[in-house]
C-alpha cells in the first residue's frame, strides 16, 4: 500500500512537471516595426487596422498601437580595429552627423572596440558631450571583438526602459578578444532583452552573415556603405528610421521561458515590414 501511494505521488509529481506553466496575468509583448514602400522610403501613415501580428503563427489582436515618433535610447559602438585607421576622419564626421540628427529627448551612449572594448559611462542627450567623446575617445588599432562589444553595449542598456537600440559600425567579422565574445550568449541576450540591432558596414569584409541575421532577427536594420557614399547620411537615416517606427503590442499568457516567433504584416500593398522575429516568454516583464 505504501509503495502504491509512493508511486501514485511520484506519478502525480511527474504529471505536474509535464504540464506547461501558465499564469493568469497576461502581459504585453512590444514590437517596434519599420515599414518601407517599394522604393525603400518609410511609410509613416498606417493605422492599427493596417497591421497584423502573429505569435507562433497564430493571429493575435493588436492591443498597443502608437505611430507617434518614439524617442531613442541607443548605444553606438564604433569598430576601431586596425583596418579602420584610414577611415577615422570619415567615421568622426559620420558620428557627428548621427549626434546632430538626434532629437532632444533621445539618449545615446558611445563606445568603441579595438585594442579596448570601451563604452562611455554617460547615457546622455547632451550633444556637446557626445561630440566631445567622438573627438577624444576614438583610437584606431587592434582586433575586432565584435560580439564582446555588442554584448557589452546591451549590458549597458539592460536597465533602461522602452525601446533599446544597438548601432554597430564595423568593417569586419568578429576576431575575438582577450576575453572571447560568446556569439550564442550574445544572441540570447539580444532576444531576451528585446534589443534592436542595427549594423552599418564599410567595404572590405562588409557585414558578416551572422551580423546580418542578428539585425534581421531583432527587427533592426543593416546598411552597407560604398567607398564614395556619404556615411553621415546613412547614420542620419538610421536616426530618422528609428523615429518613424510604429509601436505595436499584443497580450500573451505564456510564461514558459521559451522563445516564440513573432511576425508582423501589413495589409497595405507594396509595403515591407521589419520587426523583431521572436521574444522570450519570461516570468516578469517581457522586453
Amino acid at each position: 500500500m505504501t509503495r502504491l501511494l509512493a508511486a501514485a505521488l511520484a506519478l502525480g509529481l511527474l504529471a505536474q512537471q509535464d504540464r506547461p506553466t501558465f499564469k493568469s496575468t497576461s502581459r504585453t509583448v512590444h514590437v517596434y516595426a519599420t515599414v518601407q514602400g517599394k522604393d525603400g522610403r518609410l511609410v509613416p501613415n498606417l493605422t492599427r487596422d493596417d497591421f497584423q501580428i502573429f505569435e507562433d503563427g497564430k493571429p493575435r489582436p493588436i492591443s498597443v498601437f502608437d505611430n507617434t515618433p518614439q524617442k531613442i535610447t541607443v548605444a553606438v559602438m564604433f569598430d576601431m580595429s586596425n583596418s579602420m585607421a584610414r577611415e577615422l576622419a570619415r567615421i568622426r564626421d559620420a558620428a557627428g552627423a548621427f549626434v546632430r540628427a538626434l532629437w532632444p529627448d533621445d539618449r545615446a551612449r558611445l563606445g568603441s572596440f579595438g585594442l579596448e572594448v570601451a563604452i562611455s559611462p554617460l547615457l546622455t542627450s547632451d550633444k556637446p558631450t557626445l561630440l566631445r567623446i567622438i573627438d577624444e575617445e576614438l583610437w584606431p588599432g587592434g582586433p575586432t571583438p565584435l560580439w564582446y562589444a555588442t554584448d557589452l553595449a546591451m549590458t549597458s542598456l539592460d536597465n533602461e526602459e522602452g525601446r533599446r537600440v544597438i548601432l554597430l559600425f564595423t568593417d569586419g567579422e568578429d576576431s575575438g578578444f582577450f576575453v572571447p565574445g560568446n556569439r550564442g550568449e550574445m544572441r540570447r541576450h539580444a532576444e531576451r532583452g528585446g534589443f534592436m540591432i542595427y549594423a552599418i558596414g564599410l567595404p572590405g569584409h562588409g557585414l558578416s552573415e551572422d551580423l546580418q541575421t542578428l539585425a534581421d532577427d531583432t527587427g533592426g536594420g543593416r546598411f552597407l556603405v560604398g567607398q564614395g557614399d556619404n556615411l553621415g547620411a546613412t547614420f542620419a537615416q538610421v536616426v530618422e528610421e528609428l523615429h518613424q517606427q510604429y509601436l505595436l503590442g499584443f497580450s500573451t499568457d505564456l510564461v514558459d521561458g521559451k522563445s516564440h516567433s513573432v511576425r508582423v504584416k501589413t495589409t497595405r500593398e507594396g509595403t515591407k515590414v521589419r520587426a523583431r522575429q521572436s521574444y522570450v516568454a519570461v516570468d516578469g516583464t517581457i522586453r
Binding site: 585607421a85 585594442l115 579596448e116 570601451a118 563604452i119 559611462p121 577624444e136 583610437w139
Partner: protein
C-alpha cells in the same frame, strides 16, 4: 640689510620647499590598451611602478598609489614609508584590463591631494588613449590648473607619432599644469618615475598650495 642677506632671504622659501616632504599620487593606467596591447599582458606594471616610487621616496614624503581601468581605485590614506607603497602596488596588481578614464582618474587623484602642501603632484603612467571618461580633457586640465596640481606624465607609447597622436594631449596636459611628459620604453619605467619624482620636487618648490574645488 645687505644685498647678500636679501638674496639669501629671497632664496629661502625655494630652498626650504625643495627639502620639504613631497605629497605624491601615482596612478597607473591598467586598461586593455596598456596592459594587453603596447605592453603585452603586463601584470607587473603597477608593482614595478609602485616600487620605483617607493625607491624615490624621502623621509617625510607621503604617497598614494592607484589604478584606472573599468574602475578607478586610489589608496584612501597617504602612505608614509616605502614598504607600504610597495605593498599597495602588490594589492592592485591583479586589476588589469578595461577602459581608460584618464581624465576622471586625474581629477580623482587631485581630490586626494586637497589640503596637502607643496611640493605635491600626480604622476600618471598611461598610453594616452583615453576612453570612458565622465569629464573631458579641457575640464580636467582646468580643474587641475585651478587646484595648482602639476601632472607628471610617463607615457609607455613610444610609437612613431600615430594619427591621432595620444601623446599630443599628454604633452598639453603636462605643459598646462606645470609638470613634465616623458615617453619611455617599458624597461625605462623605473628611471622615468624617479625622474618624475625629482621634477615634482623642483617644480613644486615654487608653487603655493591652492584651494581645491572638488
Amino acid at each position: 640689510m645687505s644685498a647678500v642677506a636679501l638674496l639669501a632671504l629671497l632664496a629661502l622659501p625655494a630652498a626650504q620647499a625643495a627639502t620639504r616632504p613631497a605629497n605624491v599620487v601615482l596612478i597607473v593606467d591598467v586598461s586593455h590598451s596598456v596592459t594587453y596591447g603596447i605592453v603585452k599582458r603586463d601584470r607587473t606594471l603597477v608593482v614595478d611602478a609602485a616600487s620605483a616610487l617607493a625607491a624615490a621616496m624621502q623621509a617625510g614624503d607621503t604617497a598614494r598609489v592607484g589604478t584606472f581601468g573599468d574602475e578607478i581605485t586610489i589608496e584612501p590614506a597617504p602612505l608614509k614609508d616605502a614598504d607600504a607603497v610597495r605593498a599597495a602596488g602588490a594589492r592592485l596588481a591583479e586589476r588589469i584590463g578595461g577602459r581608460s578614464p584618464i581624465w576622471d582618474a586625474l581629477v580623482a587623484a587631485a581630490g586626494t591631494l586637497e589640503g596637502a602642501g607643496a611640493p605635491r603632484g600626480i604622476i600618471v603612467l598611461t598610453d594616452g588613449r583615453s576612453t570612458g571618461n565622465r569629464i573631458g580633457f579641457a575640464d580636467a586640465v582646468d580643474q587641475l590648473k585651478r587646484a595648482g596640481i602639476p601632472v607628471f606624465v610617463v607615457s609607455l607609447d613610444k610609437s612613431d607619432r600615430p594619427i591621432p597622436d595620444p601623446g599630443a594631449r599628454l604633452e598639453q596636459l603636462a605643459a598646462a599644469t606645470g609638470g613634465t611628459c616623458l615617453f619611455v620604453d617599458r624597461p625605462a619605467l623605473p628611471a622615468a618615475i624617479k625622474r618624475s619624482v625629482s621634477s615634482l620636487r623642483q617644480v613644486s618648490a615654487t608653487a603655493q598650495p591652492r584651494r581645491n574645488n572638488y
